[in-house]
């Protein structure tokens, strides 16, 4: 008997090569620049070791449940963010669109930060490092004025890299060197995401593992630097009094939330490429714990180096004072050392108080140097680069540091781009015959052209705006609706059954309680607190203005009304899709319900799609 041919119709959705690739991609997406330059700063200003308490509480009640929710959702529905939320309920489709919108906005500015990293990386191959010396002024009589008044490191960052304008309204010109680096960065992103997870899956082995190697090298080197122990003690000494400040709890909650890259849609996209029967509960716990441990692990070398920098600054201050005293009193060179400096000062103050007063010595206090805490780009491009100059073999350390930052950022970019790419592939807007390479090329080119705005003189002010408004508030809103949507629209009972089908065991009491009550409540509180704090102070920014009287201090300026309107637009645009899409479907249903032949839509079930 010849039976008609039955060619097995396999699922032609792309797959991860192995589970390790998937876990590594999620970890790479979660572990980003914030783990290196935001967590140590928060630890420092919020009472050191005491900050870990609200941090872990937030992780337990907010981070892990939301992460598990997203991974389970993507795995069950096997669609990107837009398709997944449409499948849960058409009224919740706006949540998916909002996620997609946020991923687009963040991709735009995140790659510009990588552009800056690349620029510093390329410049690290010179001897001496360009941010270690001030250039001469035009007639070669002295050092460049702007550089002399601030520091060489500040000058290189604000003038040679950003060529920053004194005001956000002054756009300045496009900086050609930044455009070249931006093009390179987008070319690298295109190269790695050209065929979706086929190519990112290979690239992630390097970009996700390499930062850990470099962090370890920096850890070993950093701990051997003088002053490292002071830095670490300063970082980790717990001060439990700070826990009384609600700001600390808010910062912990937001840090966990943004650090795990929740509500971007990227995690849903990643897990949608998984086989349906995969233990997403274990994955979620693994990724969350690895992310937090990485934050802690990264803060050790960062603070060793910061302690080294503070100690070196303190010693320099002392040495300068000592030289001035020795020159003034014509004492032998080795008479005053750092150790007996205070004794000598008190002795000289008694014998020659007028001379000492006339010298106008600067008071050197180690605590003051340690207190100079910075986060974000300031930490990487100003403070850390200054510390690197002081280390022997600075070129090698600079190159390693900037490659590490680049890998960290690149693996996060993969997640962002996947969050944009996957829903587009599934929407019927894009026809199936278009090759993936073309689609990713189009996305990368459009993003590159729009991101050219960030290479203007005022670009870094705009990136701060995007970061504060597009990359923060909408995520809280979307995550809140995610949890509410799954817990109360899709119903937890159904979701638990789906998770049981995928992992083999029913989600236990912890998951039930957090999904139903604790996480939504926590998100609501965080959202309200966040909005209250933002609206309390009128939004202002710190501008770098060489003509300011207080230069090199930054000038505090207020955003003009049109910029404030853009801020509100950025924050509102992703959120507004949630009610808009719901309204759209409501109107559609009302119109259809007038037509009697309308059949109620099928109830979607996760198992039904896969059995």
């Amino acid at each position: 008997l010849s039976v008609p041919p039955e060619i097995p119709k396999g699922d032609d959705r792309p797959k991860w090569d192995n589970k390790f690739q998937y876990i590594l991609s999620c970890i790479g997406f979660a572990v980003g620049l914030g783990n290196v330059w935001r967590f140590p700063y928060l630890c420092q200003i919020h009472g050191g070791g005491a900050f870990l308490i609200p941090y872990f509480i937030a992780l337990l009640f907010e981070g892990i449940p939301l992460l598990h929710l997203e991974l389970a959702l993507g795995q069950c529905l096997r669609k990107g963010s837009i398709g997944a939320w449409n499948a849960i309920s058409p009224y919740l489709g706006g949540v998916g669109v909002g996620s997609w919108m946020v991923s687009v906005l963040v991709s735009l500015y995140y790659n510009t930060v990588l552009t800056w990293v690349m620029w510093y990386f390329i410049n690290s191959f010179q001897e001496p490092l360009p941010w270690s010396v001030c250039p001469l002024n035009e007639n070669r009589t002295g050092l460049n004025k702007e550089c002399y008044e601030s520091t060489a490191v500040n000058y290189f960052w604000y003038r040679k890299t950003l060529n920053i304008t004194p005001d956000v309204t002054e756009s300045g010109t496009l900086q050609w060197w930044l455009i070249l680096c931006l093009a390179t960065c987008w070319a690298i992103v295109y190269l790695c995401t050209i065929r979706g997870i086929e190519t990112t899956g290979k690239a992630i082995y390097v970009t996700a593992i390499f930062p850990y190697l470099v962090l370890t090298i920096f850890l070993i080197h950093g701990l051997r630097l003088p002053g490292a122990t002071e830095g670490l003690a300063y970082l980790f000494t717990p001060n439990l009094n700070t826990l009384k400040n609600p700001r600390v709890w808010l910062d912990a909650a937001t840090q966990i939330f943004f650090s795990l890259s929740l509500a971007f849609g990227g995690l849903i996209a990643f897990s949608s490429y998984n086989p349906p029967k995969n233990d997403c509960e274990k994955d979620a716990v693994t990724v969350a714990i690895v992310n937090s441990v990485t934050s802690l692990y990264a803060s050790i070398p960062v603070f060793s180096v910061l302690g080294f920098k503070a100690t070196t600054g303190y010693w320099d201050c002392l040495d300068r004072n000592i030289i001035r005293i020795i020159n003034e009193f014509d004492l032998p060179e080795d008479s005053i050392m750092r150790q007996n400096y205070t004794d000598w000062i008190s002795f000289l103050n008694l014998s020659h108080p007028e001379k000492i007063a006339g010298l106008k010595l600067k008071s050197c206090d180690l605590q003051e140097f340690l207190d100079q805490s910075v986060s974000g780009t300031g930490l990487a491009f100003i403070v850390f680069t200054q510390a690197i100059i002081l280390m022997p073999g600075s070129q090698a350390w600079a190159i390693l540091f900037f490659i590490m930052l680049f890998s960290l950022g690149l693996s996060s970019m993969f997640g962002n781009i996947e969050g944009v790419f996957t829903p587009l592939l599934e929407l019927r807007i894009v026809s199936k015959s278009i090759p993936k390479e073309l689609l990713s090329g189009v996305i990368c080119s459009i993003c590159f052209l729009i991101a050219l705005c960030f290479t203007l003189g005022s670009g870094s002010y705009w990136i701060d705006i995007f970061d504060s408004y597009a990359g923060s508030l909408p995520l809280l809103v979307i995550a809140f609706f995610e949890v509410i949507g799954v817990a109360y629209v899709y119903k937890i009972k159904r979701f638990s059954k789906d998770v049981k089908w995928m992992t083999g065991r029913k989600p236990n009491l912890y998951w039930q309680i957090t999904w139903r009550f604790i996480s939504p409540l926590l998100l609501l509180i965080v959202f309200v607190a966040f909005v209250t704090l933002q609206t309390q102070n009128s939004p202002s920014y710190a501008a770098w203005n060489p003509k300011y009287e207080g230069f090199p201090m930054k000038e505090e300026k207020v955003y003009p009304p049109w910029v404030r309107a853009i801020c509100v637009l950025l924050a509102a645009l992703p959120c507004v899709f949630v009610p808009l899409v719901a309204l759209f479907h409501l109107i559609k249903r009302r119109r259809r319900s007038k037509d009697s032949s309308f059949a109620p839509p099928e109830v979607f079930s996760c198992q039904g799609a896969n059995s």
Partner: protein
């Protein structure tokens, strides 16, 4: 006679002391930081080093102006401290009464700063002539900025990678298209049917040989031969 000699000597000594004192006219303060520069190899500052210094200043004056006939004895040092710092002044060779103008001394020292520094194994920073500024060296700028070279290398690698991946993708797609069109053509002509019998494609089976039923195979042997 002896008294006159003594008197003239003391007058000369007083006159010299008048010429060289802190903040005197045309006097310069010098400050050395030998321990900072040389560390363990630092030498002690003694009368011999002072003699060398006087010799170097005299050398500088002679080199600066060929007419100059400055002797070592014309360079006067005073107020040597433990720091090591002192004042010096250069007197006119003929009369030990007036000092050489500060501008000339400054120009002479600037011209020969390198030689003076090397004689003492020091640098501009560790052998300071207060009030005499050193000229700043121009920065070394390579013809092509280094970063452009590195950038070019990185960009070439990336573009090569992209081109390779796109080409590989196009090739793969062409192969897939060729395979699927071949299959379609053959199926249309009906020559090859992927017939399946019990899960085994018939091509794998030996159709020509057929199935031999053992029961009937031994037909011939059932009957006895006649």
């Amino acid at each position: 006679m002896l008294r006159v000699l003594l008197l003239t000597l003391s007058v000369v000594a007083i006159a010299r002391a008048e010429l060289c004192k802190p903040d005197a006219q045309n006097a310069f303060k010098v400050r050395l930081s030998i321990k900072t520069a040389l560390g363990d190899n630092a030498y002690a500052w003694d009368a011999n080093e002072e003699y060398l210094f006087k010799a170097m200043v005299a050398f500088a004056m002679r080199k600066y102006s060929s007419k100059s006939t400055t002797q070592i004895s014309n360079v006067l040092l005073c107020n040597v401290t433990d720091r090591v710092s002192f004042w010096f002044v250069v007197t006119d060779s003929s009369e030990d009464v007036t000092t050489v103008p500060a501008s000339e001394v400054e120009a002479a020292i600037r011209m020969n700063r390198n030689r003076i520094n090397s004689a003492f194994l020091l640098s501009d920073k560790t052998l300071q002539f207060l009030k005499i500024t050193s000229t700043l060296s121009p920065p070394v700028e390579p013809s092509t900025p280094v970063w452009l070279i590195i950038f070019g290398v990185v960009l070439c690698v990336i573009v090569a990678g992209i081109v390779f991946l796109i080409a590989a993708g196009i090739q793969q797609r062409k192969k897939k298209n060729k395979e699927s069109t071949e299959r379609e053509n053959l199926e249309e002509k009906g020559e090859v049917t992927v017939a399946v019998e019990n899960g085994i494609p018939c091509e794998a089976l030996d159709l020509k040989s057929g199935h031999i039923n053992g029961v009937f195979a031994a037909d011939d042997e059932r009957f006895t031969s006649l």
